[in-house]
Amino acid sequence: MVEAAQDILKVNGLSTSFLLREGEIKAVDNVSFSLKKGEVLALVGESGSGKTVACLSLLRLIRWPPGKIKSGEVILDGQNLFDIPLKDMHKIRGLGIAMILQEPMSSLNPSIIIGRQIQEAVELNQGLSGEEAKKKAIEMLELVRIPSPEKRYYNYPHQLSGGMKQRIMIAMALSCKPKVLIADEPTKSLDVTIQAQILRLMQALRNDIDTTILFVTSDLGIVAEMADRVAIMYAGQVIEICDVFKLFTNPAHPYTKGIMKSIMALKTGERLNIISGDPPNLMALPTGCTFHPRCDYCQEKCRTEVPQYDDISGEGTHMVRCHFPLGVDKTQAEGKGK
């Protein structure tokens, strides 16, 4: 790990809620993480764990009502994005942070040729125009390995396959050279062979142009393939952050451990490990640790006290939100907690 690299994106205590008639949904609850330049951080969690809402909150794309960013700060390159007037946020979107969405089919305009759509992003954010912008758009198509980009420039989205459309999205996002790229499950709707192509492309782009990526996914195979560090989300909270090797060898949170075990058993053919119970209802979260009703190691303390973010490595590289993290001597952990 590069010591000198500084945090390009820092998220502190981010909380986003949806205020509905039935009550408040804490979709993102006190989430903190940071990204170093050139790093890939995977944000992992099941559906409803708040991954996408967290990403949209970074770009302040939460619509009020009913959504509201309640507290926290997002510091991009030393600038707190929550201090900027909302009308100036468009300068950050695209140039500062760009996002690749899950479904390229619904994010592209079906009535405009794809080249024009990439060009639009280039014109708005880089101040290029006319032939220059077009040249840049074709350059971007080339970058994401679209064959014969001059011809493809004139294609409409429906003329492209799913994998190609996702490449267009990547091209659009990268066209402004963002400081941070958020990829929200970019391969979710794609076949494995196309997924492999996209992942490989993203790896190559990362090496070539040194992009910092926040990679949202629920597939631990992709995590192993792509990430440097991993943040695991559960019920709106980040419950564990560590580097990818640690995650696969020594996960400390019982939830992480449970998921790891069930995935590893797929290879050996053993009976799969089950995390009992259902994913939590965000309207009525359990008291104390939100995972306690499903946890095998649950104790009295877990039911009543909300666990704090603990650094179990002592170097700030492995953070866990658990009273009794696995593989850590309890008394020692308590001592560190104080």
Partner: protein
């Protein structure tokens, strides 16, 4: 062995089945072209075993599943259930077949009538086939819910109040209501989260043991198929390209497409970042009036002239290991 002999021994036998969907055309005008969704597929499924059908989207795996349940009309070929051709059943036999062969959907929720309570949804097959009514029906439904690990009290709930995993369990409860022998599971877990997925897979395996079920498990996730299936059939644009027992397929990958498909799956081990190795380029071709020759040829690194002219037939290259490829290929890449 895929021959006449094996039709008698196996529970389900598929012989040279074809399904073409017309494209264009109308009431009077004839269709101009056809989607070759399933094209000349033959295989056997034995009692108590699980056949995993794997392939990319559009390879015909769902059509295959519907064909063996007689939910579609075939274009050509035969499908035998216990040695009898299901497309030659009379009305009564067909109704009996419906009790013996069932389907689990990818998204059970959308197959439920949302105005009905869980009890009615699960009990409906029992009512339709006059198996039980009144108190007996209720007891049977309660028993079914318990079998799939749900509380019988859920009977009085509506489907929308259930979590995703529970909905899928209700779908399973309904499909085992009539003690079927054969179940086609069409991507039953692809919409579920990791923690719920494990529960669902365990349930399917447990039911197989306790009810002596035979599965045809359709999935695009080779990791899951490997865990559940005793046999694997790999399809590519309507064609069966490789078919063998699961460990055999993983140990000896005889078709270049199988190799490409297996190596494209990300491995859950950060020390083995293997996507950097050679991967399949290009996209799945259109199944509308495909050109002659091997359908994989345009993407295949081994393809020669013959591959573009002749269609390779399925042949048994190793004992019990069938493959449709002219080249003498065996995958070398390390997959865990």
């Amino acid at each position: 062995m895929i021959n006449d002999e094996s039709i008698k021994k196996s529970l389900v036998s598929v012989r040279n089945i074809k399904k073409y969907f017309p494209v264009g055309g109308g009431l009077i005008s004839k269709a101009k072209s056809y989607v070759h969704a399933v094209d000349d597929v033959s295989l056997d499924i034995y009692t108590g075993q699980t056949l995993g059908v794997v392939g990319e989207s559009g390879c015909g795996k769902t059509t295959m599943g519907r064909l063996v349940l007689k939910l579609l009309n075939k274009t050509a070929g035969e499908i035998y259930f216990k040695g009898e051709d299901i497309y030659k059943y009379n009305k009564q036999q067909a109704k009996h077949f419906r009790t013996k062969a069932q389907l689990i959907f990818q998204d059970s929720f959308s197959s439920f009538d949302s105005r009905n309570k869980i009890g009615k949804i699960v009990g409906e097959p029992l009512v339709v086939h006059n198996v039980a009514k009144g108190q007996e029906l209720e007891d049977r439904v309660a028993g079914l819910l318990r079998t799939v690990g749900l509380k019988p009290e859920l009977m009085d709930e509506y489907p929308y109040t259930l979590a995703a995993g529970q909905k899928q369990c209700v779908g399973v409860a309904r499909s085992i209501a009539l003690y079927p022998e054969f179940i086609v599971a069409d991507e039953p877990i692809s919409a579920l989260d990791v923690s719920v997925r494990a529960m669902m897979l365990n349930l399917l395996k447990d039911l197989q043991k306790s009810h002596n079920l035979t599965y045809m498990f359709i999935s695009h996730d080779i990791r899951v198929v490997r865990w559940l299936s005793s046999h694997i059939a790999i399809m590519y644009v309507g064609k069966l390209v490789e078919y063998a027992e699961t460990p055999e397929v993983f140990a000896h990958r005889l078709h270049p497409y199988t190799e490409a498909l297996l190596t494209a799956v990300p491995i859950e081990d950060p020390t083995l970042r293997h996507i950097k190795c050679e991967i399949l380029l290009g996209e799945v071709p259109s199944p509308v009036d495909p050109p002659p020759g091997c359908r994989f040829a345009p993407r295949c690194f081994l393809a020669n002239e013959r591959c573009f002219k002749e269609d390779p037939q399925l042949e048994e290259r190793r004992p019990g290991h069938w493959v449709a490829c002219f080249e003498d290929f065996e995958g070398q890449a390390e997959i865990s």
